[in-house]
Symmetry: C2
Subunit: 142 residues, 2 copies
């Protein structure tokens, strides 16, 4: 079996803020049908600024935005430096205008390619009591 | 800018069940440091059985495992047929043995390549009151 896969960009973060604007390319727009029935979505994006060998070979980090964090593996952190530069963010969907989503809470930079949009389903995705290490409680959520 | 990206497989679903065994390849194993401090993880996997043009060109589906579901866009469903065959599952991490994770609740088939592991952080990832369409309440969680 292959050891690699190809991802295709389906959209782009057109502007970053509150709200952010996520533009889905016209050829993928029919895939948004019914998305307006969800209040929250999971956005998978390509962390294009970290898509280089140095960042993709990074396997441990000290999460600097979290005071007191120890050195941890990238899979135990939400570091943007990781073998596959895929960012994941749960965002509030506030409006859909044609092929553009207005969302709140997106942590992606402007210009980041979008690779997937999934509906947020609490019964599958919400684990309010999940245990985390203490350092994740300080600084930004991710 | 490129319209595509390359994902590299960091592991594989060695066996599927309760628990499932997720083997991380030795060269990525140091990236797991500290993961044992989390009770839940987000697993991104490559839906290898849907990695073909027909499935990747699918933009609308009728979610057949959910009785009463209408035809919706793939981005408004968790359908495995989508432009990028990336599956996302929140799973309970029950044990780490060397480079193998034992997890509960993983919906990936045996043999699925793993592309990322992220810690589940309720403050970022848990939205218990998120609104969903009625049909998602019937059938499996995703």
């Amino acid at each position: 079996m292959s050891e690699k896969g190809e991802v295709r960009f389906i959209g782009i973060v057109e502007s970053s803020g509150e709200p952010s604007k996520v533009k889905i390319f016209p050829e993928f727009c029919v895939g948004l049908k019914g998305l307006n029935n969800y209040s929250h979505i999971i956005i998978l994006y390509w962390i294009h600024l970290r898509n280089n060998e140095e960042q993709r070979r990074t396997l441990q980090v000290v999460p600097k935005r979290h005071p007191g964090a120890p050195q941890v593996g990238v899979f135990a952190s939400r570091s943007p430096s990781r073998p596959n530069p895929i960012g994941l963010c749960v965002a509030e969907l506030t409006k859909i205008e044609d092929c553009t989503l207005l969302v709140r809470g997106l942590d992606a930079f402007e210009g980041s390619p979008i690779i997937d949009i999934k509906p947020y389903i609490p019964r599958a995705d919400s684990i309010s009591e999940a245990r985390v290490p203490e350092w994740t409680n300080h600084g930004p959520p991710t």
